[in-house]
């Protein structure tokens, strides 16, 4: 069924390729979708990159901007609000330094770093253990580095959750649709029994938009761009600042960089 759906999307994309219509607003409706060589469908003014990466400038964040970024993501992706912390779905959330960097947090962290939480989310690793362990390729790494999921293929074995050393993955222990407020039509809701996580807003990039969290931050708190482009904003930030990645010793090669 799922592969039939994919093929249909591809064929629909091919059929539309010759036309020069402006993209419709809905990536999952039948707008103008141009198939990429690797088969992924996208709009003709999509943002693309050889290697997407994010820089989190923790110095610039305020409690307000952190909340705004989380809220924007939750809204864009129909992330349910589940009160029971055991069943919570988290794509992007606040964590203290000692939790985000447990191996680095010595006894004398500056009080501001200790007090101010930072945003954590999927690191879109270059060598993602979640992709390595998935028995169905339901989670996979795209050519542009985004680690994402096919919710329709996931069997809910949760091997990826055991493999992710960042706790970035959530499982739908209950029906998420019962815990949604207003539903966004630009991203599918999920069913119970599948895993989900941050997808670097692949669906928004395909429509030419920056990730929701990045857009919600007005002061360059989150810098998103192409690591392969030496002039990109991420590369500028990485050149000018000393950055950390989470748990580099595990060899996952995270592509979310933190300025502390």
């Amino acid at each position: 069924m799922d592969s039939a759906r994919r093929n249909f999307l591809k064929i629909a994309g091919l059929a539309a390729a010759g036309l020069t219509l402006k993209p419709a607003g809905n990536a999952f409706g039948m707008g103008v979708i141009v198939p990429e060589p690797d088969g992924a469908a996208k709009f003709d003014d999509a943002l693309s990159a050889k290697r997407w990466a994010m820089v989190v400038d923790t110095r610039k964040f305020t409690a307000q901007t952190r909340k705004a970024a989380v809220a924007a993501c939750n809204k864009a992706h129909n992330v349910p609000e589940i009160k029971n912390p055991k069943h919570a779905i988290k794509w992007i959330w606040e964590a203290n330094f000692k939790n985000a960097f447990p191996d680095l947090a010595g006894p004398h962290v500056p009080p501001q770093v200790e007090r101010e939480p930072m945003l954590v989310f999927c690191n879109h690793c270059d060598s993602p253990p979640c992709v390595r362990v998935c028995p169905t390729k339901a989670t996979f790494k795209r050519k542009d580095g985004i680690v994402t999921m096919d919710f329709h293929r996931c069997i809910g074995c949760r091997y990826c959750m055991a493999a992710c050393p960042y706790g970035s993955r959530s499982f739908n222990y209950v029906d998420p649709r019962l815990h949604l407020g207003q539903t966004s039509v630009d991203f599918p809701t999920r069913t119970k029994g599948v895993v989900e996580k941050c997808n670097f807003c692949a669906e928004r990039l395909a429509r030419g938009q920056m990730p929701a969290c990045v857009e919600a931050c007005r002061n360059n708190e989150l810098i998103f761009g192409d690591l392969a482009d030496p002039n990109s904003s991420v590369n500028q930030a990485l050149r000018q600042n000393f950055t950390l990645v989470r748990k580099p010793e595990l060899g996952t090669q995270p592509q979310v960089y933190y300025i502390i």
Partner: protein, 386 residues
């Protein structure tokens, strides 16, 4: 031969009906879980595998342990095991079936189970686990049946069956090795990330599996007049003793590395298990119970006088099974998730539906085991009378 499962005493039928009842209750509880989602279990965002996967892990060991009867007989011509290998093979069949069902009840989307085959992914250890487990199931079904068939016809074992038996010996090692690889290759899960996880699994399996089989044989001796040669009991209990010593030795090796290196990641899980940590200590009484039961069983097993006495041997076997089950069937999988990747401590306890569904799966395994053993005993009684 199948008809032999249909002729039995009242006790036999009462046992079968009781198991069917448990299976029914388990099945309806599973329907409840299926409709509500895995939220009815104690699993959480932090502890995403629990009782089901722990049972899978334990039972893979039980399945593999059949080789402890097969290997001495077919490779070393240890004759007293001749009449017992069939029990090891049939126990493996029942155990692997339970393993598969424990995976199934753990899936969030069981309807999509076949995706593992439709989109085969050799870089996933789960793919290989499925492969070796189903292979082992097939091998033991065919071997068990053909061995019994030969006994029934009073004929020789066909050559191709012998070849399958030789294949099944390393295959048994492979199922528990691959199951250990499920855990031992995950970055950041320090309790599991150890090269001796596979040997540890094998050691505890070769202690617990034959112990369970020996206990079953003692039960069968009572209820079904099953003849267990003393020499076989003796050899098996020596195998169990050595395996248990190795198991404890391996665990102590893990602890040495953790405590002497003093590396936090290696220490945390052991601290949590044996002393509690961050105000959480749910596992502490269980772990100490496991230690005490394990030491108790080892003392009874190591002293020859007690090992050879049927009463103390039974006590040793029961405590050994309890000890290894706590360690592997409860602690190892769950504590691997504690603390979580963000160094936070969440605890886990199975819920009632989870336990009832597990009981249902165990009942299926016991039913299969009962039917297969009944057939084996029936064939044996017939050939003995003739």
């Amino acid at each position: 031969m199948l008809e032999k499962a249909l002729q039995g005493s009242k006790i036999y039928w009462a046992w079968v009906v009781a198991l069917l009842g448990l299976i029914g209750i388990g099945f309806f509880t599973y329907l409840y879980q299926y409709s509500q989602g895995l939220g009815v279990t104690g699993l959480s965002r932090d502890i995403s595998w629990g009782f089901y996967i722990a049972q899978l892990t334990y039972l893979v060991g039980v399945a593999a342990s059949g080789v402890m009867l097969v290997l001495p007989y077919y490779l070393h011509d240890h004759k007293t095991f001749g009449k017992l290998t069939i029990l090891g093979e049939f126990m493996a069949v029942a155990a692997v079936l339970m393993c598969m069902m424990f995976v199934l009840v753990d899936l969030g989307q069981p309807k999509r189970m076949l995706n593992v085959i439709l989109f085969p992914t050799p870089n996933s250890i789960l793919f290989w686990d499925m492969f070796v487990l189903s292979g082992y199931l097939g091998l033991n079904m065919v071997i068990g049946w053909m061995v019994l068939h030969a006994e029934n016809k009073r004929g020789e074992l066909a050559k191709w069956v012998k070849i399958l038996i030789y294949i099944s010996i390393p295959w048994a090692i492979s199922i528990h090795t691959v199951t250990a690889f499920l855990y031992a290759g995950l970055p950041g899960r320090h309790l599991w990330l150890t090269a001796i996880l596979a040997p540890r699994f094998l050691a505890s399996a070769f202690a617990a599996g034959p112990a369970i089989l020996l206990l079953i044989m003692f039960v069968m001796r009572r209820v079904a007049n099953f003849h267990v040669p003393d020499k076989a009991v003796n050899t098996l209990s020596i195998i169990i003793t050595y395996a248990m010593i190795l198991n404890v030795f391996f665990l102590l090796l893990e602890m040495f590395t953790a405590f002497y290196s003093n590396i936090p990641g290696h220490l945390h899980a052991f601290e949590y298990m044996f002393a509690g940590s961050h105000g959480k200590w749910a596992m502490v009484p269980w772990m100490w119970a496991s230690v005490l039961l394990g030491v108790f069983s080892l003392v009874l097993l190591i002293v020859p006088k007690w090992r050879k006495n049927p009463k103390t041997l039974v006590a040793a076997l029961i405590t050994l099974v309890a000890s290894t089950w706590i360690e592997k069937g409860m602690a190892l999988v769950v504590v691997g998730f504690i603390p979580n990747p963000l160094d936070q401590y969440t605890e886990y306890a199975p819920t009632l539906p989870e336990l009832v569904i597990s009981a249902g799966v165990y009942a299926v395994g016991l039913l299969v085991l009962t039917l297969l053993f009944k057939i084996a005993l029936g064939v044996r009684a017939e050939t003995a009378n003739a």
